[in-house]
């Protein structure tokens, strides 16, 4: 590929053509420039619907065409409202989830190359680049995003891809159980001062309230309190711990919602309760370790990295660590997975933009030139071969794609 290699000659740290780094999440998009230490903006991944003019989630689409329109409008906003640079002839680094659907990735490439004529695109796996912010090469990276929790072990810089784990345990699950709890337990005071059950006033609570309540009032309880509460469910004689104080929350301007302390404490419990498949965030971590080669497990367990907006919830990281330790000591795992210690990293960024920061670091190096997929290559074939992705560099995988 002579063209590809020839690009190395172009000066990289050209101030005028700084690479743009994008991390387009289901809930929030982080955008900024390579070589900077924080994103310029973190904005909701929402677009105005072309037909109705209402704001809708970027990734809510009926078909590929609609997704493309969403991405065209959204990226237009990113460049001309937030980054204020020309997309044309500029490089882009896209931080992507390895489990992101192919249609999203192909459509994004189409939009960037065809609509915005970017010079090159480099897809980097979010879990892998998150490690770059720490300066380490081995880690078990758990991304607690909005839609799901995804986990990817990385050993000596190599993604142990077959050990990946994912569960629909993200911010939206917390919001869902928060909504159920509120409708079940909360009361609202109306303008005339009378109290009503919330469920008698509204059938469902708008998402923006749920997120606001979650972020501002909820927290993740400790393991001890949680098991105490659990036991109380089955055995009423066990005294439950006193609930945290309730919160008065103004709702839609004319109701005052009283959020019981128990709701604040319990909203995030769904991430740790065993469902039918007995899967929790803790088993997610341990199952991934089980799939990794034995001689890598200790080192991975000592290099846990938890990223993603939901990890910012008060008490979340503490609880995960406690749950993982408890589960590892449980009958189910103590024999098959003897791990002496679990340790957690503290990335030099807010949880929600750790991956972005990794992309911004990588984007400021020559790697952008060596590994990016160039516009001319794309236009010749209209496909994004997976080898431009750092972790999909194998022959088979490419063949699978074309098969």
């Amino acid at each position: 590929m002579p063209l590809f290699e020839g690009l190395g000659g172009i000066g990289l740290i050209n101030e005028k053509n700084t690479t743009v780094v994008l991390d387009i999440g289901t809930a929030y998009t982080k955008a900024g420039f390579a070589g900077e230490y924080g994103p310029r903006i973190i904005t909701r991944s929402e677009v105005k619907c072309r037909e109705t003019g209402k704001n809708i989630p970027l990734f809510q689409y009926k078909n590929e065409n609609e997704l493309r329109h969403h991405l065209v409008d959204f990226i237009h906003k990113l460049y001309f409202r937030c980054l204020l640079v020309n997309p044309k002839d500029r490089r882009v680094v896209v931080v992507e989830n390895l489990l992101c659907p192919t249609v999203v990735r192909n459509t994004l490439a189409k939009v960037l190359f065809r609509h915005y004529e970017v010079l090159s695109v480099l897809f980097v796996p979010s879990h892998l680049v998150a490690l770059m912010t720490l300066g380490i090469t081995t880690g078990l990276v758990l991304d607690l995003g909005h839609k799901e929790a995804t986990l990817m072990p990385i050993y000596e810089g190599v993604v142990v891809f077959h050990a990946w784990q994912a569960l629909p345990f993200g911010g939206s699950l917390i919001e869902k159980s928060l909504s159920e709890l509120l409708l079940d337990r909360a009361v609202a005071t109306t303008e005339d001062g009378t109290e009503h059950r919330l469920s008698s006033i509204m059938q469902d609570i708008p998402n923006r309230y749920l997120e606001d309540i979650k972020v501002r009032t909820c927290f993740v309880s400790t393991l001890e309190r949680s098991s105490c509460l659990q036991n109380n469910k089955y055995d009423r004689s066990i005294e439950p711990p006193p609930p945290p104080p309730s919160v008065h929350y103004p709702l839609e301007g004319h109701h005052i919602l009283t959020i019981p302390g128990t709701v604040r404490e319990l909203a995030a419990e769904s991430l740790f309760e065993r469902d039918q498949d007995a899967l929790t965030l803790a088993t997610l971590v341990l199952n991934a370790l089980l799939k990794c080669p034995i001689d890598t497990r200790h080192k991975l367990a000592e290099n846990l990295v938890i990223i993603g907006g939901t990890a910012s919830m008060k008490g979340m990281k503490h609880r995960i660590l406690a749950e993982v330790r408890a589960a590892a000591a449980s009958e189910q795992y103590c024999q098959i997975l003897p791990i002496p210690s679990f340790m957690l990293h503290h990335p030099p960024a807010k949880d929600n933009y750790v991956s972005w920061l990794g992309g911004a670091i990588l984007g400021a190096t020559e790697a952008v030139m060596l590994r990016s997929y160039h516009r001319d290559q794309y236009l010749a074939s209209d496909v994004v071969p997976d080898w431009c992705n750092l972790s999909f560099n194998t022959c088979e995988d490419r063949d699978e794609k074309f098969a």
């Binding site: 290699e5 190395g8 101030e15 005028k16 929030y28 230490y37 924080g38 310029r40 903006i41 904005t43 065409n65 493309r68 237009h76 937030c82 980054l83 204020l84 640079v85 044309k88 189409k110 065809r114 912010t133 300066g135 380490i136 050993y155 000596e156 810089g157 142990v160 891809f161 997120e211 501002r216 009032t217 927290f219 400790t222 945290p244 919160v247 080669p293 000592e302 008490g315 990281k317 503490h318 679990f342 340790m343 957690l344 990293h345 503290h346 960024a349 807010k350 670091i361 400021a364 190096t365 020559e366 790697a367 030139m369 060596l370 080898w387 972790s391 194998t394 022959c395 995988d397 490419r398």
Partner: protein
């Protein structure tokens, strides 16, 4: 009929395949085709602060992270902060026993009443500026990381160049061991792919201390189970994300935000690279240097009045056509066949591109946007007026003319319902198809456009075909 140009009722089919109202369409005088926001190339033209209306050069904007140095937004509600002056008593420098009045400044929000004093920021002695910028606490670490990875990548590049001739086959494609932690051999070949790989001589790469993991993490604050939550002291997601690098969780940590600047955009035709729209430089001007709106070049179609439509019943729908150009034009309405017209449109476009000497060299590679698939289903049969008519040129002085100019044209009364200055009324006969609940009809507007940028050798008039879709209205069930 509230909208001046009936934006959503009458739409033109842009050359990219999207239906847009005439107000959202441009007309490229060089390609002689319709263009819209979807199929033109957008560019940043000028950067300016929307509050102080100062222009900002792009290099400066990069340095200041697209924010105005002097204007601030409220971190609480996003409104613009204003500077307040007040005087305080301070000990006089000459005689400490006396006090003198000194002017100090702080920032306040006129909307939510937030002030810099609320969060304990010290008042400034100068009216503008002086506010200390927040730092990223991880600056040092991140800087060393960046240098480290840069040198790693640099080495990778050098090594690759060395290998270039011996290893013709790219190592990307020669791996067999997939994802799994590879054998020694596999690892060797995978390592260069990793951005972390310390390749070759590690000592050459720059110093970097990796961060350490800890066994314990910060738990919940002690008092969370007993302390009341004061909602107003906890920031919302919007407040946090408006300073992405810091994301303060308490309102006490909010910090004035430098105002984000805005851009004026210019639009360029992707095919001929001519500007279709270019704003004036001055931020306070809302005018354009170039503005090739279709509104100035394409006859405007409007529906004259709303009619009642019944399934299977032929109804007359009156349209008005208006000539915006200073040249007479011959107009005809032709039937619209969705598939066929698309093809012919494209053909016509290509020919005109080749035929025109105005276009920039054919070396310019045009990146085509993906074809758009628009639903062009018509829900009524339409009988169009047969034959041509002449649309008089726009004459801004005609309004003041008492004389009626229409007798000059020998109009076919079958075609022209009425004529007034540069406007003409035509009648269509619309028959809603069975099961249609909403009537949409289409036709191709064929007109002779007088090319104002053509060279002397070319004919100055060209015949253009513009597909027009009219949403006539709902069908009332009979």
């Amino acid at each position: 009929m509230a909208h001046l140009f009936q934006g959503d009722r009458i739409r033109l089919l842009c050359s990219c395949g999207l239906l847009k109202p005439i107000t959202a369409i441009y007309f490229c005088r060089h390609c002689l085709k319709l263009r819209c926001g979807n199929c033109v190339s957008h560019e940043v033209d000028t950067l300016f602060c929307p509050n102080c209306l100062e222009n900002m050069p792009s290099t400066e904007a990069r340095l200041k992270k697209n924010r105005c140095a002097n204007c601030f937004d409220c971190p609480s509600c996003g409104h613009t902060l204003s500077t307040r002056a007040t005087s305080i008593q301070t000990p006089s420098p000459e005689d400490p026993s006396k006090t003198v009045a000194r002017k100090v400044y702080y920032l306040a929000c006129t909307s939510c009443r937030w002030t810099t004093r609320d969060v304990g920021l010290k008042d400034q002695t100068v009216a503008t500026g002086g506010w200390v910028e927040q730092d990223n606490e991880h600056y040092k670490h991140l800087q060393s990381l960046l240098e480290h990875y840069r040198s790693v990548a640099q080495q990778e590049k050098l090594e690759r160049e060395k290998k270039r001739f011996s290893h013709r086959k790219s190592s990307y494609l020669s791996l067999s061991d997939k994802y799994s932690l590879p054998s020694i051999l596999g690892r060797k070949s995978l390592t260069p792919l990793s951005p972390f790989a310390h390749k070759g001589d590690v000592s050459q790469t720059s110093e970097m201390t990796p961060l350490e993991a800890t066994a314990e993490v910060e738990g919940l604050p002690e008092d969370i189970f007993t302390e009341e939550v004061v909602l107003s002291s906890v920031t919302t997601m919007e407040q946090r994300l408006s300073s992405p690098e810091w994301q303060p969780e308490k309102t006490a940590d909010l910090y004035p935000l430098h105002k984000h600047i805005l851009v004026k955009r210019s639009l360029r035709c992707r095919h001929c690279e001519h500007n279709l729209s270019k704003p004036e430089y001055n931020p306070s001007s809302i005018k354009f240097k170039i503005q090739l709106g279709a509104f100035y070049h394409v006859p405007e179609v409007r529906m004259v009045r709303q009619v009642e439509l019944k399934t299977g019943v032929e109804t007359g729908v009156q349209l008005s056509l208006c000539n915006p150009t200073p040249h007479d034009m011959t107009v005809a309405l032709l039937p619209f066949v969705p598939e066929a017209s698309e093809v012919s449109l494209q053909k016509a476009g290509e020919e005109s591109v080749e035929g025109s000497s105005l276009n920039t060299s054919s070396l310019v590679r045009v990146v085509e946007i993906p074809p758009e698939r628009t639903d062009l289903k018509l829900t009524a049969d339409v009988a169009l007026p047969q034959g041509q008519l002449i649309l008089a040129a726009r004459d801004d002085t005609a309004e003041y003319d008492d004389q009626d100019s229409s007798p000059n044209y020998k109009d076919d009364p079958q075609v022209v319902a009425w004529r007034r200055a540069n406007k003409v009324g035509v009648n269509l006969l619309v028959t809603p198809k069975p099961d249609a609940t909403y009537v949409r009809v289409g036709f191709v507007l064929r007109y002779d456009y007088t090319n104002t940028v053509a060279t002397a050798t070319e004919s100055r008039t060209v015949t253009l075909n513009i597909p027009v879709m009219v949403d006539v209205g709902p069908v009332t069930q009979s």
